[in-house]
Subunit: 274 residues, 2 copies
């Protein structure tokens, strides 16, 4: 297992850690999501040669803001091609909880068919990038974005891993047995008052029934939005940043990436350099 | 956070991954646990120079068997000094569930005062090893051993991290607020039928009330004893090995070790070589 650990982690991290990094390039990429004109945010290391794993990032309910973009750049620095999705179209973003609630709520109600259409379109856009190995992708999301990537997993999308950070675990269309291709990791704030225990139980029961390869990590002392350093600025009760939970959940995500990507390439997505 | 990630993981794993390894030495170490004459199993890499982090391993209810010893050797290969504890004295071990139940049950009943005495003695023995940095130690345990290391944490023992793998989370003497020094990681099989939901809730409530720095990971499709490749041989219903959960929980443990040990030394416990 020690060897497994090195295969899974060391090769990736050593490569990235010991290599001079190229410049992180960012650009707006347009794509159509159903009837919606979307403008995603792409980030990649221009010194990486050849195809590498791609990671889709679905933002919080605020839309494609600087926090989501910072995660894309962070993943690009690790050698991945990262695309932050524009779930509302035309790059719409807000800091008004009421507006955010209307946008996110509209996509989360009912059968979430439109939600699936929009996230699938973003995943397809990521896969179409010439630098991305379409067979090695993951989708991660924060809050509303976490709910969204779980919906992507339920849809049976061809994605290797899905990671939800403080996402709403409510179910619209339950996953069907054997249909979920993604390995699912749920990173949950153990003190998240927005996530009722009954909803957590229902989610875990759904994962069991559908025979999903899943893991749920509960981080002590963490509440909703624990990964976002700017969470506290909104002054919303029950929403706060937690550095330990942020770092630990990021570590767990990278561990899963290494597991699903590590065996099919050299390990470090940024290893082959020009 | 990327830098943090490298500090926490890459330095350790790169060092260990790229270095020629010395021979793993093992020896029986005697120590007194209360009135009990104990014989622990020590494993370390003889090519490592200087003090390094020490890891205490508390075996399953079977006693200090080959599985516990294999974990000690595995950790020694990663550069730690590992001591597998003899919780029953005189190196007693069994494959009879009834006998194991009597031994473990006897220590788990009541106030668990004797259990704390025995595990503290093993930790002290580990710290007294000349190769161990007594300020950088962790205690991990499997099943009964998981319960035991959680008891060690509750006692306020000076240990940086405690990791329970499929341990019984029942409470005898609840942790007192602010008294737990160890960061606590609980690795739990989501389908572990030996762990009632109410007991899990009570444990998490205890951690909250005592303001412990804790994390609980639930691994889908994993039942009791999921880390032990030999679990199935006993033919006990509800006990089985799960490779994914084994590897993922091991990865989570190493991540925590890197977090608590990584900042106070070069990162790789086996880095300084003769």
């Amino acid at each position: 297992m020690r060897i497994g650990l090195f295969t899974l982690a060391a090769v990736v991290l050593c490569g990235a850690a010991t290599m001079a990094r190229g410049e992180i390039k960012t650009e707006t990429v347009k794509y159509k999501a159903g009837d919606v004109e979307s403008q995603g945010f792409l980030a990649f290391d221009d010194k990486v040669a050849g195809k590498r794993p791609g990671v889709l990032i679905v933002p919080e309910w605020w839309g494609l803001n600087d926090y989501a973009k910072s995660r894309a750049k962070q993943l690009a620095e690790l050698g991945y091609v990262a695309l932050a999705a524009d779930m509302y179209g035309n790059g719409q973003v807000t800091e008004d909880p009421k507006q955010a609630g209307q946008w996110a709520g509209g996509l989360k109600t009912g059968d979430r068919k439109e939600l699936r259409i929009r996230v699938q379109a973003a995943l397809d856009r990521l896969k179409s990038n010439p630098n991305v190995d379409a067979d090695r992708t993951a989708a991660i999301g924060y809050c509303f974005g976490g709910t969204t990537v779980l919906e992507l997993a339920r849809s049976g999308a061809a994605v290797n891993a899905v990671v939800s950070f403080h996402g709403d675990l409510s179910i619209a269309q339950p996953a069907e047995s054997g249909q979920v291709k993604a390995k699912v990791l749920v990173c949950h704030g153990a003190d998240d008052s927005f996530e009722p225990p009954a909803q957590i139980e229902a989610f875990q029961a759904e994962m069991r029934k559908a025979h999903v390869d899943w893991e749920m990590n509960s981080y002590g002392n963490a509440v909703h939005s624990f990964t976002n350093p700017g969470a506290d600025k909104h002054g919303i009760p029950g929403i706060a940043y937690n550095k330990e939970a942020d770092h630990r959940s990021f570590r767990a995500m990278i561990g899963l990436f290494n597991e699903v990507f590590g065996k099919t390439h050299e390990g470090n997505p940024g290893q082959a350099r020009k």
